[in-house]
């Protein structure tokens, strides 16, 4: 561990130290606002180190990590998203925890999860991969069940816990098989085996498939998507946003690196596996979302489909694919944050606003909130002027570039189908307010008239990001292009 190593690890170290400090701060004195601000600043400072670190990259730190621009970019995504989630969470928690009983650990767990996410982005080794993933997963598990007084979060926590550990077990077993076959736990080392022999060893292939299944489970790709809607629905809204964005974004970063390093796309059977996962995810996600009446579940299903789109881009391989995937991740994070952010901002003490009925006529009572949700949904649907369009453009472009015609057709077909349910929600926003304002459970709706300035600021920021990317994506494209070329360059340089 040289000084240089420490420098490139600054972001991770910084956040790790902040985790510890936050814990101490909580132990010292509980104060919701202060801790929230503290966590926010932690992310902000970490974010600030990224450009500084960039000059020293790329650099491998031990066999476990590699810090390159690609990783830094994803770190940036993860950190920005976390900051937004913190912004959204404050008011939400304020309402949920009237008793002020143990709110503060929430931020600590959030920071820890983010820490795990950062580790994932730089991992090139099974150990760091696995540990990062578990850091993220365990923190999330606690966060999902954080509002432990309500039934749904607990139910979601149990489901997430059990299924996520199953996923870890499968992943670990796959890794073990790969290790058994190749004698190496670095991604590239694992990939070397295949490059040296003519026929791909079955055990190796099995290991890779298991690892992919583990990742697919965490990402919620069909047919391993079952837990997604339940967890999304049960988790507190800001955490749902977090699961949908940070955990997936970081994992995609890792997946892209893994796929690139082991050269998975050179093996037809793995390409077929990915194609299958992509198509099934798109179809299943969209079909399940079609007539869904619960907004959070609907968004969950849509996220399954979006991961499918993303896989199409990933499958294309090559520089365009990496670019497309990264772009898509950014766009996807922004619009998911936007949609779940509105759910968060519109939630109340009795529970999250998740029924369609809650949103009927929202545009006429709270136009900005509704506009934000509409914008996010249209972005998810891929309508121009929103970032979603450019994202979809990129995905299609990658697919076309690689000549994946059937996948591209599946993608656009599914986009059309998905439009239906997004529009269903949008049209609800513009509907007429129902006469009797009760939820199906018979609870009177006291629709909140305020959402806290932090949430509003975050949403505004997200909206402007969606619009800016949608209208002038060039700077972001350039950034991604340089970063991604780094990933590929490293991949080619050091075999």
């Amino acid at each position: 561990m040289s000084l240089q190593d420490l420098i490139v690890l600054t972001p991770i170290l910084n956040l790790g130290i902040f985790c510890l400090v936050t814990m101490l701060a909580i132990a010292f004195r509980r104060n919701h606002a202060r801790i929230a601000a503290f966590a926010f600043v932690a992310c902000l400072l970490t974010l600030a180190t990224l450009p500084w670190v960039a000059s020293a990259t790329p650099r491998a730190v031990t066999a476990l990590l590699i810090v390159d621009r690609y990783a830094l970019l994803y770190m940036g995504i993860v950190l920005c998203t976390t900051m937004m989630v913190i912004g959204l969470s404050y008011h939400y928690l304020h309402i949920q925890f009237r008793e002020r009983d143990g709110i503060e650990e929430y931020y600590l767990l959030l920071l820890l999860a983010t820490f795990g996410g950062l580790v994932l982005t730089v991992s090139v080794h099974f150990v760091s991969f696995f540990l990062g993933l578990e850091l993220l997963g365990l923190s999330l598990c606690s966060l999902i069940g954080y509002v432990r007084t309500r039934r749904h979060p607990m139910e979601a926590a149990v489901k997430y816990l059990l299924l996520s550990i199953s996923a870890s077990a499968i992943l670990l077993f796959g890794m073990a098989l790969l290790y058994f076959e190749s004698g190496s736990m670095t991604f590239r080392g694992v990939g070397m085996v295949v490059k040296q022999v003519q026929a791909v060893p079955g055990l190796w292939l099995g290991g890779v498939v298991l690892v992919f299944i583990g990742i697919a489970l965490k990402l919620g790709l069909a047919p391993f998507h079952m837990w997604i809607p339940d967890v999304y629905q049960g988790a507190p809204a800001p955490i749902t946003a977090y699961i949908a964005t940070v955990s997936k974004g970081a994992l995609v970063a890792l997946l892209l690196r893994f796929v690139t390093d082991i050269g998975a796309l050179e093996l037809p059977s793995l390409v077929h596996l990915f194609s299958l996962l992509a198509v099934v995810s798109m179809v299943v996600g969209n079909v399940l979302a079609l007539f869904q009446q619960n907004v959070k579940r609907l968004l969950a299903y849509s996220s399954i489909a979006h991961l499918g789109y993303l896989l199409v881009a990933l499958l294309a391989g090559g520089p365009t694919a990496a670019e497309a995937v990264t772009f898509y991740v950014i766009v996807y994070c922004a619009m998911t944050l936007g949609s779940f952010g509105v759910v968060t901002a519109y939630s109340r003490e009795a529970g999250d606003a998740e029924q369609f009925e809650d949103y009927r006529g929202l545009f006429w009572t709270r136009p900005w909130l509704a506009a934000m949700l509409a914008l996010s949904l249209l972005s998810l649907a891929g309508i121009p002027v929103t970032a979603g369009f450019i994202g979809k453009f990129y995905a299609i472009a990658a697919g076309v570039d690689a000549g994946l015609w059937w996948l591209v057709l599946a993608l656009i077909g599914n986009s059309v189908v998905s439009l239906y349910y997004y529009l269903r929600l949008v049209v609800t926003l513009f509907g007429d307010k129902p006469a009797s304002a009760t939820t199906p459970q018979g609870l009177a709706i006291e629709s909140p008239q305020t959402s806290g300035w932090m949430a509003i600021c975050s949403l505004g920021l997200v909206a402007s990001i969606i619009l800016i990317i949608g209208i002038y994506p060039e700077p972001l494209m350039e950034l991604i292009r340089t970063s991604v070329s780094n990933l590929l360059m490293v991949a080619q340089q050091k075999p």
Partner: protein, 99 residues
């Protein structure tokens, strides 16, 4: 070399764990089954280490152990909370969210 039979054993243990996970309704048992699966993975790593004469497998085992410890503590926390609130550990009872 015992590494290949060990891998076989690991696979069988993994399978047994999986069966346990699928067949038990009590969350506690499901957790136990998961522990078995993790253990199986750990065994597979050890077998890999033995095959290549490396210590990496063992090190991975250590980390899996750490995970198991951390995970069990969270899991048991949840189990306790569930039993406080809902007076049941039947996994099928927690299916209010669906569709």
């Amino acid at each position: 070399m015992l590494s290949t039979p060990a891998l076989l054993l690991a696979t069988m243990l993994f399978g047994l764990g999986l069966i346990g996970l699928l067949s038990r309704r009590n969350i506690l048992y499901m957790l136990l089954s998961l522990e078995i699966m993790l253990n199986a993975a750990a065994l597979a790593f050890i077998a890999g280490g033995a095959r290549w004469g490396q210590v990496d497998g063992e090190i991975m085992f250590l980390f899996i152990l750490t995970l198991a410890a951390a995970e069990v503590s969270v899991a048991l926390g949840i189990v306790l909370q569930l039993s406080y609130r809902f007076r049941t550990l039947d996994a099928d009872a927690f299916s209010e969210m669906r569709g």
